[in-house]
């Protein structure tokens, strides 16, 4: 394939990173005052906002209420100006619905839903700028937002994407690397126990390489966990200073 070299001979990627290096992550909790919990994350040029409402009473039909646990409802929406080509519909198309279902699956594994029976927890994720790794950024932002809302969780949920080029596993793919057509793996991990909440892989990959790519994604997710942990501690510090402890 002419043109773009995803991994140079010296081991540098298109944007100058090493194979296992993450993009710069900056995050903030408590962005909106009116929501129960909110968070904003920037992973390189990918920017995502997550807002959590709940736990509250089930909206719509009461028949959907589960007698022993809470219902987790997720919506994924990406702004029309988020991608290079303007998107026509922010949400409601197939990809957004699928992402919503994946987020729901991820968070049902992590949130302690047995503590809130017959209620509903809404997680709304909005992507402001998409530059690869949107699922991972959404999961990381949603984790922070759920923590900001005070909803008890089993553990952090940290996600990262990974790919495979020229025998090397790359962590945290950008849009250019995703569009090149190689295999992509999205992984959501609960770091303390090492449990996988969601694993999804696209395109062909030989099973001998799977372990290498999986390990790269897991290591990247653990690195994300260190960063998110720091963000949460700093937020709690600031909040306790404001409360005057």
């Amino acid at each position: 394939m002419a043109g773009l070299e995803l991994l140079s001979d010296q081991g540098y990627r298109v944007d100058g990173r090493r194979a296992g290096e993450l993009r710069k992550i900056q995050a903030r909790m408590g962005v909106f005052a009116q929501a129960d919990g909110s968070a904003y994350i920037e992973q390189g040029n990918t920017k995502a906002l997550a807002v959590v409402y709940g736990p509250h009473e089930i909206r719509g039909s009461r028949a959907r209420a589960l007698p022993d646990r809470a219902l987790v409802n997720c919506q994924y929406s990406s702004a029309t100006f988020s991608t290079g080509e303007r998107k026509r519909r922010p949400h409601g198309d197939r990809k957004s619905c699928e992402m919503g279902l994946q987020l729901r699956q991820t968070f049902e594994a992590a949130i302690l839903t047995q503590l809130h029976p017959r209620s509903q927890i809404d997680i709304y994720v909005q992507v402001l700028q998409a530059d690869g790794g949107t699922y991972a950024a959404c999961v990381n932002a949603a984790t922070l937002a759920v923590l900001d809302a005070g909803i008890p969780m089993r553990d952090f949920v940290c996600a990262c994407s990974a790919g495979f080029v020229d025998g090397t596993a790359l962590a945290d793919l950008s849009h250019v690397e995703e569009a090149a057509g190689g295999p992509q793996l999205a992984l959501a991990l609960l770091p303390a126990a090492g449990q996988i909440a969601l694993l999804e892989m696209d395109a062909r990959l030989h099973e001998d390489h799977l372990e290498q790519v999986l390990e790269a994604a897991a290591q990247a997710a653990r690195d994300v966990h260190t960063l998110l942990d720091r963000v949460v501690r700093q937020h709690v510090c600031e909040a306790s200073i404001l409360l005057g402890d």
């Binding site: 900056q26 909106f32 920037e42 906002l49 029309t80 303007r86 909005q126 700028q129």
Partner: protein
């Protein structure tokens, strides 16, 4: 007595924060935070065909997305009604010859023109949506940078469009005559500017006035379940013009100050 619940006077705005160039892969963007109302506007410039009745002009397309972040009722298609209403209001206030110079958006008559897609994202709803959205649209249009193109004609007569090599070579829009909306809510016998959610719930009728920086009214609309008598409409219009002029001068000064800081400006966005 001119005192509201939060200590403001009847004609005072809440603290407004405006920041441009928040989203980097758009032609222009702006974020406005007015109390608890948070709006993000992105402008994308694309090439298209001019409309048949106006072959020498480009045009603007508005789209308003009421995100579920603002309230759970906007999930799925719940925010579509409000979004369409706001988009239609934006089309009406820009529907005159003087608001924005559409002839500068034309590349070659009847064939190519710039279409500006203005996308409004409503992130948090804390009252007074129309004012915040119109301020954000004006700031985003001020920030828009459209690449300069040249039309080359070769021997057979077929035209080729060439983009300039320098990424900083671009045309800016003149937003001097872009109007801003001032919403006046009638509460009891008085009217207030910049109502919060609680004040909007108490008011039966409101008047939306779209005012340019020179004090010219381009569009006026009454919203709400209640009715207004004609004298109050004239009073509210006068207040709207007065408040609108002040809003424009302060917005212009903020935008120029931000512009003067240049490309080394610290971009805060949602992290601040």
């Amino acid at each position: 007595e001119d005192l509201r619940v939060d200590g403001r006077g009847c004609e005072d705005y809440r603290c407004v924060e405006v920041e441009t160039d928040v989203v980097s892969n758009t032609s222009g963007s702006a974020r406005v935070k007015l109390g608890h109302t948070d709006i993000l506007v992105g402008v994308k410039a694309e090439m298209g065909m001019p409309k048949l009745e106006k072959p020498n002009e480009g045009y603007l397309e508005f789209f308003v997305d009421c995100s579920a972040n603002a309230t759970p009722e906007f999930e799925g298609r719940g925010g579509d009604d409000l979004g369409t209403e706001i988009a239609n209001t934006l089309y009406r206030i820009f529907n005159n010859k003087s608001s924005i110079d559409l002839k500068s958006l034309c590349i070659s008559p009847r064939e190519h023109c710039w279409v500006l897609y203005v996308d409004v994202l409503l992130l948090e709803c804390g009252g007074n949506l129309f004012d915040a959205i119109s301020v954000a649209v004006k700031a985003a249009l001020f920030n828009t940078r459209i690449p300069r193109v040249r039309v080359l004609e070769d021997e057979e007569g077929s035209k080729d469009i060439e983009l300039s090599d320098d990424p900083y070579d671009c045309i800016r829009l003149n937003v001097e005559n872009v109007p801003c909306i001032v919403t006046l809510c009638k509460i009891g016998y008085r009217h207030v500017v910049d109502a919060t959610l609680q004040e909007e719930a108490c008011s039966l009728a409101s008047l939306l006035v779209s005012v340019t920086s020179k004090g010219v009214v381009t569009c006026m609309r009454k919203v709400g379940k209640g009715s207004l008598d004609p004298e109050s409409i004239f009073e509210m219009m006068e207040t709207g013009k007065r408040v609108g002029k002040v809003l424009h001068t302060s917005l212009q000064s903020v935008l120029h100050k931000e512009e003067s800081l240049g490309p080394k400006r610290q971009k805060v966005g949602f992290l601040g």
